[in-house]
Symmetry: none
Subunit: 123 residues, 4 copies
Amino acid sequence: MTGLVTINSRDPRPIYEQLAESFRRLIVSGAIAPDERLPSVRELAQQLAINPNTIQRAYRELEAAGYSYSVPGKGNFAGARHEVDESRRRELVSQLEETVRELRYLGVDEEEIGRYISGKGDE
Amino acid sequence: MTGLVTINSRDPRPIYEQLAESFRRLIVSGAIAPDERLPSVRELAQQLAINPNTIQRAYRELEAAGYSYSVPGKGNFAGARHEVDESRRRELVSQLEETVRELRYLGVDEEEIGRYISGKGDE
Amino acid sequence: MTGLVTINSRDPRPIYEQLAESFRRLIVSGAIAPDERLPSVRELAQQLAINPNTIQRAYRELEAAGYSYSVPGKGNFAGARHEVDESRRRELVSQLEETVRELRYLGVDEEEIGRYISGKGDE
Amino acid sequence: MTGLVTINSRDPRPIYEQLAESFRRLIVSGAIAPDERLPSVRELAQQLAINPNTIQRAYRELEAAGYSYSVPGKGNFAGARHEVDESRRRELVSQLEETVRELRYLGVDEEEIGRYISGKGDE
DNA sequence: GTGGTCTAGACCACC
DNA sequence: GTGGTCTAGACCACT
């Protein structure tokens, strides 16, 4: 469990945002299964040598975005799908379209992009 | 030609980076055609009430990334495709894969994602 | 530490480029070890009687090329290997091939050229 | 014969130097055979829309370095090998060593560099 | 007119 | 102390 997430001091974003995004990735990718327990605030605070309040805030952001839920007295847990805000979905679609636009500009054809989507980019 | 790009003072990123990204988007989307002239350094500096050095730096970053080129005494111009570094392509593919992963996590199926690629998401 | 790099006013290249190349050579040759600290911006500016902005730009170019990294509040440091862009590698190979071609034109045989590669040219 | 050499207006070096280097490459690579006639001054001046004096100076530099010779009333011709100054040879060896040093820094091993020297880099 | 370089000096965030 | 950004303004070379 050690080293699940790390902090990059060169990253200009606030620490809580780095943490929230790290957990978001882990949950989305399946590395952390639905209803699996996230590290406790105190545990993570000690491991990263960071103020527990910062961890708290990261978990708060994560929960507000629908990627986790907290059970008072038990801990924080990875959420199930479909709980996420519709605005996040629109944001992702918009980001997808722009990434695709730039890839096409760089000469990558539609067929190749399709392979990345189906997760068969390396075949 | 007025108002091609704007500056957001609430955006934590430096001005030159905001500018560079704005122009990158305009070029990549085709809003600025290849070899089309970008606003002159002084012109844009006056229009945005910003120091010419800051504009210069934005254009320098843009050129370094392969999205434009400068001709001393003439101006800055939108670059042609394929000039961009291979590392940028890898970065985009990686970003695409992560966005797709999260969309799938949200319950969007592969078929629907495919429609966004071909630019037919609204059909 | 004094006199690590110098500026040649007769050199037509801009100062920041001379500086960046000087440091690149020092790093590549091993004269500056990986993660070793480079002179601070202000220190070097005073020593060379040059504006700090010019030093900054040199360090920025050096970092963009992958030969160093900066830690805000700490300093600039020599980078580790393998961080350099693939395009630089191709550039070097191409330059190597042309140099070899001209040496062979001058009558230097392949065996002698091989000795320069292994650093045994003086044996 | 058209388009053997070109001028890059973005290149900060003087035109005559660009021309001299272009011809040097062509001669060294064998693209122009020994004793083959180079384009006439007037012909090249017209083709490149450049002052004939500039072409003259380029040919003068080329000859001074031993890569060509001129026959008054006949033209300029590619030189034979071994005519080049010893200082040029030392310059090339020094350049070769530095290129090799940087390639090794980038993780390219000695064996691979050897292949580039024997012209078998693509095998 | 254009871009490019450089200086002088201020202000910020971080350690 | 450190690097990073930005401003104001000068000077150059080139078109």
